[in-house]
């Protein structure tokens, strides 16, 4: 047992180092070439020392106003997605569950498609000129995600008890319905809106601003902060709801809290960066193979690795076709899917899952 503990400590130290390295990599790389020394200088002194040198001012702006908020947003969204994935898998007692099951992504996607395709027409209908502010998309995506989750939650709740099986099935139905309605909107869209929809559904951290960081933080941080307190209950819940109750876990409250945290965090993540797949599935899965399924270790580890991997994926996304950039969802899926398969094939222990 002490060996497992030592292994846990080693894994956490490794993850923290990996995260630190990736954060520095993310702040130090991009289409604009800035020497590492100057990046550090800018970060440590806020860019004050280089006043007078115009390239220094530009570099400071790139590091502080483009790369830093983008890195922080990636860190939060990645950590939020991975932790939410692990929470959902524990809650549904199914290692294949992912945050999309509570309907957030489906609802957010439909709301976003509505804004992209109908936004300006809706605005015209109420006699407002011009086009919707670009905050309309994240606000709509966030609200749409939460509203869908709330609807599913109501459908799955009978006499004060949430049936996770009903929620899962209703989630599939909701996703199908949202998919069909999004299809209708795709039909009604013009060429440009169609491309907007496609790009949005592939996710991107492009356009990350401090405002986005600040507005996403209150939604994503709660799940990260609460996580240490949920591990024990989730461990018990893995045995079954009745067993968890026998062990003194307030099961219904735990389910409600977990669903709420996941809906808010994933909703905010989708609102800020579009749909990013595979992080919520692959990260908890890989870590379970590395450090075991014990949630008190797994959940914080997911936060570290999820954040690190999404930031890394973003570095790849913005470097491979620089000065253009790939949608980040493409990178996470291209890397995530083979890794997932490799994990599945490499461990026969998973065969009976």
């Amino acid at each position: 047992m002490s060996e497992a503990r030592r292994r846990g400590v080693a894994v956490f130290a490794g993850l923290a180092l990996l995260l630190a390295a990736i954060l520095l990599l993310s702040l130090g790389s991009g289409a604009v070439r800035i020497p590492p020394g100057r990046v550090l200088d800018i970060l440590l002194q806020g860019g004050a020392s280089g006043a007078g040198d115009p390239t220094f001012a530009r570099d400071a702006l790139v590091v502080l106003n483009i790369r830093l908020p983008r890195t922080l947003l990636g860190l939060m969204v990645g950590a939020g997605l991975a932790v939410s994935g692990a929470l959902m898998q524990g809650l549904f007692r199914n290692p294949l569950a992912d945050p999309a099951l509570v309907g957030v992504s489906a609802g957010a996607g439909l709301a976003a498609a509505t804004v992209i395709v109908l936004g300006d027409r809706l605005l015209a209908a109420v006699n407002l000129p011009g086009s919707l502010p670009y905050t309309a998309l994240p606000v709509a995506a966030f609200s749409g995600g939460l509203a869908t989750t709330y609807g599913l939650y109501r459908v799955a709740t009978r006499a004060g008890r949430i049936s996770v099986a009903t929620m899962l099935l209703a989630g599939l139905a909701a996703a199908a319905l949202a998919g069909a309605l999004t299809g209708l909107l795709v039909y009604a869209s013009d060429d440009r809106q169609l491309r907007d929809l496609t790009f949005w559904s592939l996710g991107s951290l492009s356009g990350a601003t401090w405002t986005k960081v600040m507005t996403s933080a209150p939604a994503i941080l709660p799940v990260l902060v609460t996580v240490p307190f949920l591990g024990r209950g989730l461990n018990a819940l893995v045995l079954g709801e009745a067993e968890a109750f026998h062990l003194g876990v307030p099961v219904e409250r735990l389910k409600r809290v977990a669903i709420l945290l996941v809906a808010v965090a994933v909703g905010a993540g989708v609102a800020a960066a579009g749909v990013i797949g595979f992080v919520g599935l692959v990260v908890p899965h890989g870590l379970r193979l590395l450090i075991g399924p014990e949630h008190r270790r797994l959940l914080p580890a997911c936060a570290l690795l999820g954040g690190a991997l999404l930031v890394l994926a973003d570095v790849v996304a913005r470097l491979v076709v620089a000065p253009a950039e790939l949608p980040i969802g493409i990178v996470t899926a291209i890397v995530g899917a083979p890794v997932f398969l490799w994990l599945l094939l490499g461990r026969s222990a998973l065969a009976d899952v």
Binding site: G30, A31, V32, R33, R58, L61, V62, N65, I66, R67, G130, S131, L132, P133, Y134, T135, A136, P138, V139, Y187, S189, D190, D191, R192, R195, D196, F199, S204, S206, G207, A208, T209, T211, K212, T215, R318, V321, A322, P323, A324, E325, P327
Partner: protein, 300 residues
């Protein structure tokens, strides 16, 4: 005025944004006109914008383009590419070191344009209605933004004259033929250009009647609707010289094979950007289309 110096629409957005609880900060927009005179490195985003800059002799000042800027190919092949017009990267654009961004309306994401402005680089957005006036105003707007008002006036006059000549020829068409613009023909499904599309605009200029008048925008059209539309000619896109052949388009058994166009094997293939881009080449393109469909008009 079609050059929208960013402030008015954006301050309105800022107000709406604040109402929604997202107080995005604006107000760093520099005066584009003042920056323009010295702009030596231009980020040119949008196929027509780039084409106009090139026609104004500013091709060498273009520092970076987007994926829709494909003409003239030999000039643009060497330029860095910032990706799709609506999925730009702030750092990617900045890495080209531009001192001015001229972008077709709709470039984005908006937050990226904000970041560019925060870097002190003026961003000029150009409107793009698919009309004669739209093309002419676009020439002036791009020229003004780049500090090339005089060459822009010259180009404006040239293009205006070409449009006028085109209108003169168009007036001689007794009965406009019905034409169908086929954007793609995937797995037998036809994607056609309906009303309010750029295809509709170019057909009007070429003196043709859009057979797909029941559609709005680019949409898949059913087999029955194709037969009912009864186009007398079909226009397809060519891409770097490759285009659909009449044998493919009018393959036996397809809906298109049952149209008057099939009987005459009337198929026109035209470069996609030239056809739908609405830039300085539009009068020539419209004229070429007109000549292809009405060969008799050429005997002038």
């Amino acid at each position: 005025m079609s050059a929208a110096a960013s402030s008015p629409p954006l301050s309105r957005r800022a107000v709406l944004g604040t109402l929604l609880g997202f107080g995005f900060g604006f107000g760093l927009a520099a005066d584009p006109a003042r920056a323009a005179a010295s702009a030596m490195r231009i980020a040119s985003l949008g196929g027509a914008v780039t084409e106009i800059l090139w026609r104004l002799g500013a091709g060498s000042r273009i520092a970076i383009v987007d994926t829709t800027s494909v003409y003239p190919a030999e000039v643009l092949r060497e330029k860095p590419n910032a990706g799709y017009l609506r999925a730009l990267s702030a750092e990617g654009l900045l890495s080209a070191g531009p001192d001015l961004v001229i972008a077709a309306e709709g470039a984005g994401p908006a937050a990226v344009l904000t970041q560019i402005r925060e870097a002190g680089i003026p961003v000029v957005l150009v409107h793009e209605p698919p009309t004669v006036e739209g093309v002419l105003e676009k020439i002036r707007a791009v020229g003004h933004a780049a500090g090339l008002d005089a060459p822009a006036e010259t180009l404006h006059r040239t293009v205006e004259a070409a449009f006028a000549a085109l209108a003169g020829r168009r007036a001689r068409i007794a009965r406009p033929a019905r034409a169908l613009v086929v954007l793609s023909l995937a797995n037998g499904r036809v994607m056609a250009g309906g009303r309010e599309s750029t295809a509709d605009g170019i057909l009007a200029l070429a003196g043709l009647r859009n057979a797909a008048e029941g559609l709005t925008g680019f949409k898949p059209i059913t087999d029955e609707a194709i037969v009912a539309a009864a186009p007398e000619t079909v226009v397809v896109m060519s891409n770097e010289g490759h285009a659909l052949s009449p044998d493919t388009v009018f393959a036996p058994g397809t809906a298109l094979s049952q149209t008057p166009a099939a009987a005459k094997r009337s198929l026109v293939a035209m470069d996609g950007l030239a056809l739908l881009g609405f830039g300085p080449r539009t009068p020539e393109t419209a004229e070429a289309l007109m000549r292809a469909v009405y060969p008799d008009l050429t005997g002038e």
